[in-house]
């Protein structure tokens, strides 16, 4: 077996120039996959964290009723004793904080014009403790004024359509939890961008205390749980879920991934592009290698004939060619992993930035993550591709007529 491997290894280096070309092709394919995969992972990780930090949190607690039916009245599927629930969740390891939220809707008016809004009420301190800062275009976040001074943040689209600016007043109208119409006057503290243009045209954010006064309810729609690390999401979910079952109100929990529709779409797009690249590399290596290995077979016809004449089983000839191709694949993969990581590190060190995507103002840092899974996967891909490419030449070699092979010049 050792000598057989030695023969395969030496055969790989028999034609050094051709081997170098093949190694460069295989290595280039692996390096391309590493760079693309590392960049896509950096982008999707960044999007994941920004999605979570933009207010989604790692976990969200709702009542089970919330997903079973639409609310007849505002907050009638909300969490009743949410402070106790928050206290239980807050006591869990890895939990950084809990942010209660109220989702509601109604009308907003400036005296001249009215518009429908989609409202979100938050506890500014809790939001700040979890790093959920709104993306301000103008003005400031909520200031620490007395409860009587109701402040609001509104979306850029809503501000434009209502023709209002920071410091202007608005009247917010909503139906209370018992069905009556209620209203509060608010002062615009800031204008924000949510990242979704349609939502910007309807978005209004007030404090939780203001919303509960407006809606005449102590309930909240949900509790957002922030963790010390995204990697701990599953652990906290598994430990917290049974504890939520002890409350009289049936509660349920959603992980961030279940709520991050946009992230999932982007991730699946990146995955699709990466798989497509993998398929291209696979077939590029396969097609180019079949030709190379066939050339190698034709050059060694007399030698193969000699080996067969000496009683070498035909399966050994097949095995020899497949082993040579596999060795070539492994060496090319090692070269590609080394080259890809080196190039990735150089690119990371260069401080390269990409232009901002549509709707964004800040350029994005170009970084390539070194992902062991992609290194292993890409290496396996090219190695399998080469091994498959060798099957046809290997079978042809093993089926050579010995007398014809020996007479080959």
């Amino acid at each position: 077996m050792g000598k057989f491997l030695l023969l395969a290894f030496r055969n790989v280096f028999r034609n050094r120039r051709r081997t170098a070309m093949t190694l460069m092709m295989v290595g280039g394919g692996v390096a391309a996959l590493l760079l693309a995969g590392g960049y896509f992972r950096f982008m999707s990780n960044g999007l994941r964290e920004s999605t979570i930090r933009n207010g989604l949190g790692h976990l969200q607690i709702f009542t089970a009723e919330h997903f079973r039916r639409d609310e007849v009245r505002v907050l009638d599927t909300g969490i009743e004793n949410w402070r106790q629930v928050a206290s239980v969740a807050n006591a869990m390891p890895h939990v950084k904080g809990i942010a209660p939220r109220v989702e509601f809707y109604g009308m907003v008016s400036n005296g001249l014009k009215s518009s429908v809004f989609i409202g979100s009420a938050v506890d500014p301190a809790a939001e700040a403790s979890l790093g959920f800062d709104p993306s301000l275009v103008n003005g400031t976040n909520f200031t620490k004024k007395a409860d009587g001074d109701v402040e609001a943040l509104i979306g850029v689209g809503l501000a434009k359509s209502m023709n209002v600016k920071v410091g202007d007043g608005l009247t917010v109208l909503a139906v209370t939890s018992d069905g009556a119409l209620n209203g509060v006057d608010v002062q615009i503290a800031g204008i924000v961008r949510t990242g979704v243009a349609d939502l910007d045209a309807r978005y209004l954010r007030i404090t939780l205390a203001s919303a509960q006064r407006l809606l005449q309810s102590d309930r909240v729609t949900n509790l957002v749980v922030g963790l010390d690390s995204t990697a701990n999401t599953d652990i906290v979910y598994a430990e917290l879920a049974p504890r939520l079952g002890r409350f009289s109100q049936q509660l349920t929990m959603k992980k961030w991934i279940d709520l991050a529709t946009y992230y999932r779409q982007v991730r699946s797009m990146f995955d699709g592009i990466f798989v497509f690249m993998g398929v291209i590399v696979f077939f590029m290596v396969l097609m180019a290698s079949v030709n190379t290995l066939l050339m190698s077979m034709f050059e060694r016809m007399r030698e193969i004939g000699t080996m067969l004449a000496m009683g070498t089983p035909r399966a050994w000839i097949v095995g020899l060619f497949i082993t040579e191709a596999t060795l070539l694949g492994l060496m090319g993969a090692a070269l590609g992993v080394a080259g890809g990581n080196l190039l990735g590190s150089l690119l990371n060190a260069s401080g390269l930035h990409l232009p901002p995507p549509p709707g964004y103002t800040n350029s994005i840092a170009f970084r390539v993550l070194h992902i062991p899974g992609i290194m292993v996967g890409a290496s396996l891909l090219v190695t399998v591709s080469l091994a498959l490419a060798s099957i046809f030449p290997a079978i042809r070699a093993s089926r050579l007529r010995i007398t014809k092979a020996l007479a080959h010049v």
Binding site: K3, F4, L6, L7, R10, N11, R14, R302, E303, G305, T306, M307, L308, A309, M310, G311, T312, P313, R314, W316, I402, T403, L406
Partner: protein, 245 residues
């Protein structure tokens, strides 16, 4: 194999090659037998069927008609696996162009038949050393073929052919690519191995230098045996009755 069976029996063998629009009869009803320990030359002009006959005896090709028997076994009746095993265990080959594996050293080339037989490593080492010593190349064991002279390469090829102690060594024009000195050396070596180890050699040649040292010569003309003669004073081995077809 029965005691009365010759090592090689060629019985009324013909070999026809189909060309584009015609057929070429390379061998025409050839019959003879070879006993163990013989030193037999198959001679004749180019195209007389020497190599075809060696290919048939070496089970590298199948006859169009007739039978080739090795130790009494009809090779045409054997499965492909059995024929491969027969070549691996019973036959050693020496080729005109040496046909060494270029990426292997001389020792590794000699070792190859033992590798295919899956012999143990210590046995392989011992037999390779013996075989290389017997052809006078013990000191060149670690050289690759491209660093050996033509004569040395052919001696490595002979060592490779005998290392697994086959019953029969087939050599196709073994001196054709050698100068006189190397050819003479190779002839002496093959003759010595024939005498010392009792190995049966069958080789094709039209090299007069080789024929002068040969106990028995079968001359082929146009695919037929023209003569089967035993030289006087060369009585080594059992020479069977020639059958001229």
């Amino acid at each position: 194999m029965r005691e009365t069976d010759p090592l090689v029996g060629v019985e009324n063998v013909s070999r026809v090659f189909a060309m584009d629009h015609s057929e070429v009869k390379a061998l025409d009803r050839v019959s003879f037998s070879v006993g163990a320990g013989e030193f037999l030359a198959i001679s004749g002009p180019s195209g007389s069927g020497k190599s075809t006959l060696l290919n048939l005896i070496g089970c590298l090709d199948s006859p169009s008609a007739g039978r080739v028997r090795i130790e009494g076994a009809d090779t045409s009746a054997l499965s492909q696996g059995s024929v491969t095993r027969l070549r691996r265990e019973k036959i050693g080959f020496v080729f005109q162009t040496f046909n060494l594996i270029p990426v292997f050293t001389a020792a590794e080339n000699v070792e190859y038949p033992l590798l295919v037989q899956q012999a143990g490593s210590s046995e392989r080492r011992r037999r390779v050393a013996e075989a290389l010593a017997s052809v006078g190349l013990a000191k060149r064991a670690d050289q690759r073929p491209d660093l050996l002279s033509g004569g040395e390469r052919q001696r490595v090829a002979v060592a490779r052919a005998i290392v697994h102690r086959p019953a029969l060594v087939l050599a196709d024009e073994p001196t054709a690519n050698l100068d006189t000195a190397n050819a003479t050396q190779l002839i002496d070596l093959m003759r010595d191995l024939n005498h010392a180890l009792g190995l049966t050699f069958i080789f094709s040649t039209h090299d007069q230098r080789l024929l002068e040292h040969t106990a028995r010569i079968i001359r082929l003309t146009d695919g037929r045996i023209a003569s089967d003669s035993v030289l006087e004073g060369e009585s080594h081995g059992q020479v069977s009755a020639a059958c001229i077809s």
